[in-house]
Each structure stands twice: as C-alpha cells, then as structure tokens.
C-alpha cells in the first residue's frame, strides 16, 4: 500500500484546483448527505484489510493496537453525531441545508504520533463546506488515502474535494503552495514544527501543539476500583500513550474504600493484564532508556514507589505536582485530598482532557476550563473523542469557519 505521490508544486497546485472545482459542484447539496457519505466511508475504511495489514509497520504499533484503535476513529464519524454537531454549531436545521460557503480551502498538516488523524480532519472540513488538503505525517501516510478511497466508493463527488498527500517535512516548495493557498491552515505537531510552518500561512492558522491529559478518581469511583483501574489502564495503553488524550498522571482522592497507593497497585496489575490483549510494541533504545531512567530515578525519589512490570510503569508519587511521564505505558499516581484541589495542580494551557471516575464532575468544570482543559469524559473513554471535541477549547466547525466563541470545556457522560 503506497500513498499517492505529489512530487512537484505544479502537481499539488493542480490537485488543489481540481478539489476546489469539485467543491463548487456541491454548492446545493444538503449537509446531511455529506454526513451520511462520511459515515459510510468510515465504516468501509475501518474494514480495509490492506490498511490494517500495512499500518502497524509504518505507525510503529502492534497489529492488535491498530485493530483496536481503527474502530475508535471510525466511530467518531457517526452520521447522527455529525448531524448533532452541525445543528449545534451551525444552527437548527443546518443539516438539511447546504454547507457554509465562507471557507473554500482548509489545509491540514498532521502529526503522526497517533494514526488516522486524517479522518476527523477531512470530515470537519467537508462539514464546513471546504475543499481540504491533508498532508499526512511520516508515521501514517496511509490512513488518509485509504479514507479518500473509501469515500470515493460511496460518494465520488465529495471525495473529489479531498486531496491527500505526504511528503517529508521541510519540502518547502510544496509547503509554500499548501500554506499559501489555504484559507485556514490547521497545524499539528511539535512546537518547533509549528513555529517553522505557522509564519508561512497566508490565511488563518490554527495550531495544536503538544499537550497531555490526566485522569482522576474520586472516592465514589474507588467503590469500583477494579473496573476503574482497568479503564484507566486502557486509556494509558491505547496508542502507546503517544497522543494528547493519553493520561500521564492519575489523581486519586484519599479517604475512599481504597488508599491511593493501593489503587496504584491495581492500576499496575490492570496494565499488566492489558498486555495480553494489547502487547506493547518493541521500542527503540531511546524509549527503553527513558523507561529505565524513570524507574531508576523514581526509586531514589523520596515519597515515590515504583510499581513496574511487563505492562508498564506506575510511579506512586506523594508529591501532587504534575510532572508528566514520558515513556510508553507509564503514569504517575498521586494522592489528593479532594478533587476540588485538582484544577490548581494542572499547568495552565497544557492539559487537554480529564478522564474522570467520580459521580458529579460539574463543579470542576469552570476551574478546568480556566486551566485550558477542553474535555471531561469518563475514564476508559479518553481515547474515544467525539468529532465535536473542542480541541484546544475551540468548537471544531466554528474554528474552521472563523466564528469566534467562548472557550469550551465539554462534559461527556
């Protein structure tokens, strides 16, 4: 399976022109048809045997991980959820009307820390009524063309508005064309990568830099400690913890049925259990060294206990300050007197999602919104973001369309 090659700026320019012409042919089509086509394509995409076979090698993930995560990506493109998103952001009845017209071309430059970022990128651009160019990241040049192929099978007219491409970062002529022509460029990646690209964008620019997530377990959540530990372990293990929705710390309320340290042990056991279903991928020496450094350093840090095994590394750490772990399948567990104290512990602007095992999170929302958190969800669902996820606290369609709005922090139940 090879991604489509775009080797010259002239070729890219021609592909963009064709996509924009195709967009004009959809001017009268109701958005509901677009949502239905995207949903059908996602269903076909997740069953693409060639993709399932080829993706593990390029994405550096175990085949079991790819098999487990592709459905999570596809389910976000549910027709009803897309209709709800459109109605919520564009107004009642919007799903029966044609797409907005104010943005003609969206460019997505994707990171590839986790695979298949192209699907929500394409879907949101289509729902915003734009032609879209998706420049994939190095570790997943396959998902985007596979999705476009699936879309072409169910709706060739819509698929014609989508350009998928891959080139190594730094191909400046191609980047100039892409960034110069887009009305909106959505850039995802490391801070240096974003800095290198953002200044060259001709239109508006939206950036998504590195962020992390945390989980929290309230006293009531500890009533079902085994189930909660398994759910958190799944959130940690999925995508080998490479994404911004992966928890790097778990805050556990003291005074519950289980002490926070005991919960840490349950979590370590749950991580070990998950390896049977989702075996860790063999990692490069740099990552294995990071694991060793975390474990050895924590052994010598007062107030910490290392609970490590084949499933990963859990560091029980009495110091509640947020210090994200780096190696795959590693997490700190901190005791906390009350979940009410959690928002103040989180570094402003660095936490994307809070996975929660507690009865009523609503009291936390204003303070979490203030800290930049965009999403609260039950533990076990952190890696299943809906298309409506207000990444970076921005409503996804409004952000593409340039509509300003209040910073968002959504609560999923």
């Amino acid at each position: 399976m090879t991604p489509p090659a775009i080797e010259t700026s002239a070729e890219l320019r021609a592909r963009i022109d064709a996509a924009m012409r195709a967009r004009t042919r959809l001017a009268t089509r109701p958005l509901g048809e677009t949502a239905a086509a995207l949903a059908a394509a996602a269903t076909a995409w997740r069953a693409n045997a060639e993709l399932i076979s080829a993706l593990p090698a390029v994405a550096r993930l175990d085949p079991t991980m790819v098999a487990a995560t592709l459905p999570l990506v596809a389910e976000a493109l549910d027709a009803d959820a897309m209709a709800a998103l459109v109605e919520s952001e564009l107004g009642t009845g919007a799903i029966t009307r044609p797409a907005p017209t104010e943005v003609a071309l969206v460019a997505h430059v994707l990171a590839s820390n986790v695979p298949a970022l192209a699907l929500p990128a394409i879907a949101l651009a289509c729902l915003a009524g734009a032609a879209v160019v998706v420049k994939s990241g190095r570790d997943d040049p396959l998902s985007a063309p596979a999705f476009q192929h699936a879309l072409a099978a169910v709706d060739p007219d819509l698929a014609a508005t989508v350009v998928t491409a891959y080139w190594p970062g730094g191909a400046s002529e191609l980047e100039e064309v892409l960034l110069g022509r887009a009305d909106v460029a959505v850039l995802t990646g490391s801070e240096p990568a974003l800095a290198a690209l953002a200044g060259r964008v001709g239109g508006r620019v939206l950036t998504h830099g590195p962020r992390a997530s945390v989980a929290a377990v309230g006293r009531d959540g500890l009533e079902k400690a085994e189930r909660v530990a398994h759910a958190v372990a799944l959130d940690v293990a999925l995508y080998e913890q490479r994404g911004c929705l992966s928890p790097r710390a778990v805050y556990v309320e003291s005074g519950g049925r289980l002490a926070p340290r005991d919960f840490a042990e349950r979590l370590a056991a749950a991580l070990a259990g998950i390896t049977e279903r989702l075996p860790p991928v063999s990692t490069a020496v740099e990552e294995r060294a990071a694991t060793r450094v975390l474990r050895e350093g924590s052994e010598w840090t007062p107030g910490t206990t290392v609970l490590s095994g084949p499933g990963g590394t859990v560091v029980y750490d009495e110091d509640p300050s947020f210090r994200p772990t780096l190696p795959a399948r590693s997490v700190r567990v901190h005791p906390i007197a009350s979940l009410a104290a959690l928002p103040a512990l989180l570094p402003a602007g660095h936490i994307e999602c809070l996975g929660l095992a507690a009865r009523d999170p609503c009291d936390l929302v204003p303070a979490l919104r203030e800290r930049g958190v965009s999403r609260l969800c039950p533990v076990g669902r952190m890696q299943r973001p809906p298309l409506a996820w207000p990444r970076g606290q921005h409503a996804p369609l409004a952000a593409l369309l340039g509509h300003s709005g209040a910073l968002r922090c959504t609560v999923e139940t």
Binding site: V285, E286, E287, R288, A289, A290, T291, R292, V293, E296, G297, S298, E299, W300, T301, P302, L326
Partner: protein
C-alpha cells in the same frame, strides 16, 4: 570515619603516579576497595545496595558494583564524609530544588584526577597556554565543578588565565579584545568553555567581520554540546567556525564530556591521537585509566554489543568519596576498544549541564 581520608589520599597518590608515567593502576582492586569504603560510610547508598541484596561480600567484579542514577544526586547526600565542597548541576527549567548536588569530601582527589586527564588529553605536547575561560570566575560560581577545574588548569597548567562570563553573561567585547591582542603577539592560547559560549563568540565574530588567527599551538576545549545553544551547531560546523573565526584547526579542538556527579572527565581523542601518530583513528571520547564506562541495555542493564547504543554508566574511581558508579541519562556507544561516543540524551531528561552556565548567568 577517621580512616576515610587515607583511602582517598592513597588513591590521589596513585593517580598522581599514573599521571607521571609511574605504576599502572589495578582498576578492579581499587573498585572493590572503594565499594567497600562507600558501602560502609555512605548510608543512602548502603541502603539501596542492601535493598538489592548487594554487599561487598558478594561483589567480585568491578562490573557488579551497583550504580546510582544521576537523579539520586537530586534527593540524597551521597557522601562518605563531611564535604569540602558541594558542586551543583546546572539547569534552568526545573528550579534550584531539582539540581543535583555532588558532595566531595576530598577535593585533592578531584584535583588530581582533573589535572592529570586534562594534561593527558588537552595538553599532550606539554604546552603551557594562556587560558581564556568562557565561564564565570570561581567567586561567582563556587558550586560549579567545571569552573573549579578550569581554575586548577589555569593555575597549574597555564601561562596566566582569565574569566569571561560575568553577571551579565559572556563579556564578548573584552574577550574579542583579549583574543585579538594574543593573536597579534602569536601567543599559544587555550580557549575553554561551554559549546554554547563558543557559538556566541562565533556569532559575534561574524557580526563584526572578525577572523582571528590565534598563535601556533592554540587550542579549544568545549563542553556541554547542544545544551544552551541558541542555534543549531553541528560538530562539523563547530570545527569549521573554530577555523574561520579563531584560526584553530579541527584537530586542535577537544570536546570534554564531564558531569557534576563525576570527578573524572572524558576528552576527545583528536589531539592526543595526533601527538601519538594516530591521525587516522576515529574521533572518540577517551578516559583516564581510573574512569571506565559501560554501555548498557536499558532493559537489562547488561552491556550491549560493541558499537550498539545504550545508556552510559560510568565507574569513576576518583569518586571514592561519594558514589563511584553513576548511571546517566545519556545515550552512547563504544568506539574502538578505548573510546565512547555520546549520541544523545534520554527524551525528557532534566535539562542540565555546563552549557547552561551562560543561560543562568552568575549568581550574585
């Protein structure tokens, strides 16, 4: 505690003897003696060893002496006796509390080790250069092991020395003036400091259109690598700029690899190889005979095959007063049968190193 000094004094004498070409040093015998010494006197280290079931009675090889990670120096006083000096690691982002502290109870041992290795690898021709140090003076940074080493070098091995980092950072105008005067006189000069300071010096030369030609035998010693660099500077680029701006050829540029937690350093092989007629040998970091480095598999802590990448673990006999075996956060590989190459740093490892001496400025 009263017999702590004799072992360290004895080792100091042994290093001095090796340095002047005397008797060789039996590494393993010393390693086992020192481990017993540290196990007896260094309480946090002993506790950690006992937790692993390791005592001097069961350690028969130097490779089996348990290491401590550099992180341990951030949380524990790992010393075998009252320190004469406390050296602290540099670092800007994590704050002073996250700095490691190396408590050195016998400064003479550090001095002996540092000077002997410097003489061997930086001054193998016996030169006595005029020393220009791109670091703060000891009065400004008494807790910097690099600054202390430079002071000893300047006093014992140099023909005069001066410091060019003040409270406001690198004093570039004064440095350029001093370099220019020495170049005009054709003096042999040693310019030593963090790689980041050299990058600033090169930028200043470029901005002013200065191209100095330092006198014959002049040399450069840089340390710290990419830490604190304001712009990317490859090793080849560093050599090129040393030639362009200072007139110092690449073979006279010696990189130092040292750590606050160690009393011994490794040095680039270029200069010593040249003086020993081994011009074609690959560049590598060489160590004095009392420092050995193992490259370990991160999973097993067993040595990796020659040339493979792993975590660097140093066994420094000159650390007799603290802990001799230090597991670093550096990745490296062996080169040949006597050298190593540092290939990087573990992702997310704490920023540290003398390259940050400039970024921190000098405390008042």
């Amino acid at each position: 505690m009263t017999d702590a000094l004799p072992l360290e004094a004895e080792l100091t004498a042994a290093i001095d003897a090796v340095a002047v070409g005397g008797a060789s040093l039996d590494f393993e015998t010393w390693a086992l003696r020192i481990f017993a010494h540290q196990f007896e006197r260094n309480e946090p280290y002993r506790t950690a060893c006992e937790r692993r079931g390791v005592t001097p009675a069961v350690v028969a090889r130097w490779e089996d002496v348990p290491p401590v990670p550099t992180a341990a120096f951030r949380h524990h006083e790992l010393t075998c006796g009252p320190p004469e000096v406390v050296f602290r690691t540099s670092g800007t982002t994590a704050g002073p509390a996250a700095r490691g502290a190396h408590l050195v109870p016998h400064l003479d041992l550090y001095r002996a080790s540092a000077l002997a290795a410097f003489r061997e690898f930086v001054l193998p021709d016996g030169a006595r250069p005029s020393c220009l140090f791109l670091v703060p003076a000891p009065v400004l940074r008494p807790d910097s092991s690099l600054v202390r080493m430079c002071a000893w070098v300047g006093e014992a091995l140099g023909a005069g020395h001066d410091w060019f980092v003040g409270e406001g950072g690198l004093e570039i105008e004064r440095l350029l003036q001093q370099l220019g005067e020495r170049a005009e006189r054709g003096e042999t000069v040693l310019v030593a400091g963090p790689t980041a300071a050299f990058a600033d010096l090169f930028d200043a030369c470029r901005a002013r259109g200065r191209a100095l030609r330092l006198g014959p035998g002049s040399r450069v010693m840089d340390t710290g690598g990419a830490k604190g660099l304001r712009r990317p500077l490859s090793r080849a680029g560093f050599f090129r700029e040393c030639w362009t701006h200072l007139g110092v050829a690449g073979y006279s540029c010696v990189n130092e690899y040292g750590m606050t937690e160690l009393c011994s350093q490794r040095y680039d092989s270029a200069l010593v190889d040249r003086f020993r007629g081994r011009n074609l040998a690959p560049r590598r970091l060489l160590a004095p005979p009392w420092l050995r480095t193992r490259v370990l598999d991160p999973d097993t802590l067993e040595p990796v095959p020659p040339g493979a990448t792993g975590l660097l673990c140093h066994h420094d006999l000159a650390n007799a007063g603290s802990v001799s075996v230090v597991l670093t956060e550096d990745l490296g590989r062996t080169v040949g049968d006597d050298g190593i190459e540092v290939v990087g740093r573990v992702a997310g490892a704490m920023p540290r190193g003398c390259g940050l001496l400039l970024a921190e400025g000098a405390p008042g």
